[in-house]
């Protein structure tokens, strides 16, 4: 076990290293010159050269990368070109909001997805099942920004049940979390349905029925726990998918998270921020996958640890 863990962690670190290098090179080759943006439009050629030297942007690629890496391992993500604030400060101040949003998203997709999946499994073959399955397809196919705008329009603007974007209270969280979680709920409802059907076919369920246990008891104490297990491992993967989704959702709802930060930074080619957010996102993705990999063998002993 320890060997397995160690190897996975090493792999994760190498992957992050690879991500940092590829991103760095991509941003290095871009046609836009960040120094001109920083220097502003009234700068003299001398000022531009000064700034370029100060930021070390006149050094060759590998030297710049080396310096970035050196800072990275110490937790220094550099300073934003346009704001001059430390990237780690900017990210740290916005990360909690994004984490909250992701947690809300996960909660929504599980609540909606698992519930619908169980219901579909129980009414298997009947119209309700068919209807729910089609709904799950629709959920998976809906573009997140349209869903977001739709929810905003109907529930916030027209009905006024929720605030129109923004951050602060629980009611601010509802619409964005639902938007983020809808796609996943489609997947989870179908997985839960399959898993549930599989479990209900098992012998021990038949035994429980034969013993005279009530349906409710069978459902909650025997079927559900076993059906959920394979799904739990998937949650880690979701984190990766969410990292992309938050850019859109935070933009539509004005949620002050790292998605918004990344989007603004890309517009202005504020390279340190783009690097920082990419690294943090990749870090979360790798972490999520790692957790999924660690948890899975425990859940399903049939899967060997390779």
């Amino acid at each position: 076990m320890a060997g397995y863990l160690f190897r996975r962690i090493l792999q994760a670190a190498l992957i992050l290293l690879g991500v940092s290098f590829i991103t760095f090179v991509l941003l290095y080759v871009l046609p836009a010159d960040p120094v001109r943006q920083i220097a502003g439009r009234s700068a003299t050629q001398q000022t531009v050269e000064n700034i370029r030297q100060q930021l070390g942007l006149d050094q060759p690629l590998l030297v710049q990368y080396g310096r970035y890496l050196a800072g990275l391992v110490q937790g220094d993500l550099g300073r934003s070109y346009l704001q001059r604030t430390e990237v780690s400060t900017l990210i740290a101040s916005r990360l909690p909001a994004s984490l909250l949003l992701m947690a809300g998203g996960i909660l929504c997709e599980l609540l909606i997805g698992l519930t619908l999946g169980v219901i579909a499994a129980l009414y298997r073959g009947r119209p309700l099942d068919q209807g729910l399955m089609v709904t799950s397809f629709v959920a998976v196919s809906a573009p997140q920004f349209v869903v977001g705008l739709l929810l905003l329009y109907v529930f916030a603007v027209q009905l006024g049940w929720f605030p129109i974007g923004g951050y602060g209270t629980l009611s601010h969280l509802v619409l964005p979390a639902v938007t983020l979680g809808i796609m996943g709920s489609g997947w989870y409802s179908r997985m839960m349905r399959s898993s549930m059907i599989e479990v209900l076919r098992q012998d021990y369920i038949r035994t429980a029925r034969a013993k005279g246990l009530t349906r409710g008891r069978i459902l909650f104490r025997h079927a559900l726990p076993n059906a959920i297990l394979p799904i739990i491992a998937m949650i880690g993967i979701d984190i990766g998918i969410f990292m992309g989704g938050i850019v859109v959702v935070e933009s539509v709802f004005g949620w002050p998270g790292i998605g918004q930060l990344a989007w603004q930074a890309i517009q202005r080619v504020d390279i340190p921020i783009i690097m920082g957010v990419t690294m943090v996102s990749a870090g979360f993705i790798v972490l999520g996958n790692l957790l999924a990999d660690i948890v899975t063998p425990f859940i399903d002993p049939r899967i060997k640890m390779r």
């Binding site: 920004f145 990766g240 850019v247 996102s281 790798v286």
Partner: protein, 297 residues
Amino acid sequence: MVDTAHVPAQAPIAAASVLHRLMRRKLALFGLAIIAVVVGGAIFAPWIVRYAPNEQLFEGLTLQGAPMPPGGEFLMGTDLLGRDLFSRMLYGARTSLIIGVVANGAALTIGTLVGITAGFMRGWVGAILMRFTDLMMAFPALLLAICLAAIFQPSLWIVAMVIALVNWVQTARVVYTETTSLAEREFIAAERTLGASNTRILLRHILPHLVPTLIVWGTLGISVTVLLEATLSFLGVGVQPPTPSWGNIIFENQTYFQAAPWLVFIPGAAILLLALAFNLVGDALRDVLDPTQRGRD
């Protein structure tokens, strides 16, 4: 994406029986119908529409310069520059379909090449390729796509390539798993002892077995690429104006979504239906082509 489409190795199924089984599923039929409508609309657009998609019409705006709602002269209304939305929607279908097919095709090709090579060659070549695949999986896909599209001057083809670069990973993994299990089979060993070259084995024995998987992934993948293209266009880094794409129609008109909701929800519904159609068809294909999954219904 979850729900790995594991199709066990078996003799390639006759196309006719596949089609037959597909037709018996209502949802798949529904999906095919939508696809047919969209493709038809895209191909026959020039003959169907009354106005050119990029023509900014004087009568397309109210006196105060606001867009016109659906009905009357304009079937789906007009946009903020006075252009006919119906026309832009049909021509936008072309964009979505072209990018969907091209990007997905490219992703499929890259993924298959990587997966087959890794699965067949094994050893350190395989290991490196699969680690590289893991690396690409660690990138936040949308962020990477936005970065690339914003960095390089976006055009239809650049957008397609960007999407392909971000999406090939899933295919690679699945193909790799398939190939490794196939390559271990006895009949492959038998072929080798008979003196068959690697290429021959690849082409005549492995590739045909991968076809069902590729078909399923190809279909499901178009749904993903349609959504991704729409999102990139929505963020302003998609196809260049004035070329219409369902996503960039929403992008240009989103601030008006209260005053002119049709400009957001008509293209939004279209994106949803197209992605849904490919999902339904892809899912049905998977059921049809993978017997082990059939019992689950």
